[in-house]
Symmetry: C2
Subunit: 234 residues, 2 copies
């Protein structure tokens, strides 16, 4: 595989996983030494990261991992809402009803598992797998490459902020039922119903995420991140 591709995927994974924290400088020479390659492919990889918003120029000198705070959750959800709703609408119109009926059944089954007893790792893993499966099914049914591309960027950013607001296990059952409702709505072929189901789910998901980490209500003094960090560590 091309070296630039490897470096890009590696750096992207490290940024999303939080191994490279926001504000971390991505020096070309440093990374090239770390990966044992030259600056050229590293430079290309960092350029792609910057284009996707995972990194950004620090003045004219240096690229740093971009900041993501709880304040970004709401704007990101606004974009996700627009894209997911449209994807669900199109999937309702174009998708294979049987496929989504099956997904809805499986999701409801998982939701019942969550009800009966404590949440096992197996069942939650099965749930996440089903959600990913449904996302792929919706994207595939929507059959719109540009929609996929736009969703991809937003989902990457959301994967980062998900670390900021640890999910609530007690919401798993409700979330599973919401996902089942989405699949069921898509299977009916009604764009309006699909839109309503997605809107409902995202509204609840956003509320849950913000409940854990409420956005900064007041901003009396305009202190930058460094000053805040210094103050909290003192």
């Amino acid at each position: 595989m091309r070296a630039s591709q490897r470096v890009y995927e590696q750096l992207r994974a490290e940024i999303i996983d939080g191994d490279l924290p926001p504000g971390q400088v991505l020096a070309e020479v440093e990374q090239s030494q770390r990966f044992g390659i030259s600056r050229t492919p590293v430079r290309e990889a960092i350029g792609r990261l910057a284009a996707e918003g995972l990194a950004e120029q620090q003045g004219g000198r240096g690229v740093v991992v971009s900041e993501v705070t709880v304040d970004d959750i709401t704007p990101l959800f606004e974009v996700r809402e627009a894209l997911d709703i449209q994807a669900a609408r199109l999937a309702a119109l174009r998708g294979n009803p049987a496929e989504f009926t099956a997904l809805a059944d499986q999701l409801e089954s998982v939701a019942k598992d969550f009800d009966t007893g404590p949440v096992h790792h197996d069942s939650s893993a099965a749930y996440y797998d089903l959600v990913e499966q449904m996302d792929r099914a919706i994207d595939s049914a929507a059959a719109n490459p540009w929609l996929d591309a736009a969703s991809s960027t937003v989902r990457m950013q959301l994967a980062r902020v998900r670390r900021l607001a640890a999910h609530d296990p007690s919401r798993l059952a409700a979330a599973a039922r919401e996902h089942a409702q989405i699949a069921r709505a898509v299977s009916t072929g009604s764009a309006q119903l699909a839109e309503a189901a997605v809107r409902l789910h995202l509204s609840n998901a956003l509320k849950s995420a913000l409940a854990k980490a409420p956005p900064h209500p007041p901003a009396p003094e305009q202190a930058d991140a460094d000053q805040v960090a210094a103050a909290s560590s003192s």
Copy 2:
């Protein structure tokens, strides 16, 4: 300015304007000679173009200007619909009503100009300027950087396909009224009304665009672009 930036902007403009037609190969050495610089910044510029979908890899060897056909109009409008609706909804909630009231008044005034007599170049230029002004006002009021970024990509592609479906002068008056309705709806602060106005406008705009260049109805044989080109030239 950085050479890579100049080359990027130049190539992007040439692709959007159609000076570099779809399928045109973007050879690094060729472009570097044309701009009188080395391959390195040209490579970076082409990489950015590929990331935005204006160019794409040609089977591992070479990058070519990406194809855009009338068949892409509908998918692009589907994404645009999702993003523009959300932007208008947010602008309705957060924007300054007076600003959009003023825009609505100006747009209605232009629409009346279109009615009274033949369309002059001045009035159509003023109209396009107002539309651009309103787009910026909506984006600004929505105050969502990620929404802006997603819209930017789609708008760039739409600028390309606009060349495929020359706009209808007789629709200018109706389009101006639709834009005025959007501004008016945003000024009322009703997200639902704004959504309806945008949806109506885009539906009409898409219909008009497709009327000029209907999508390929049947595809009896699955011939790729090269074969089609070869057949038509023989």
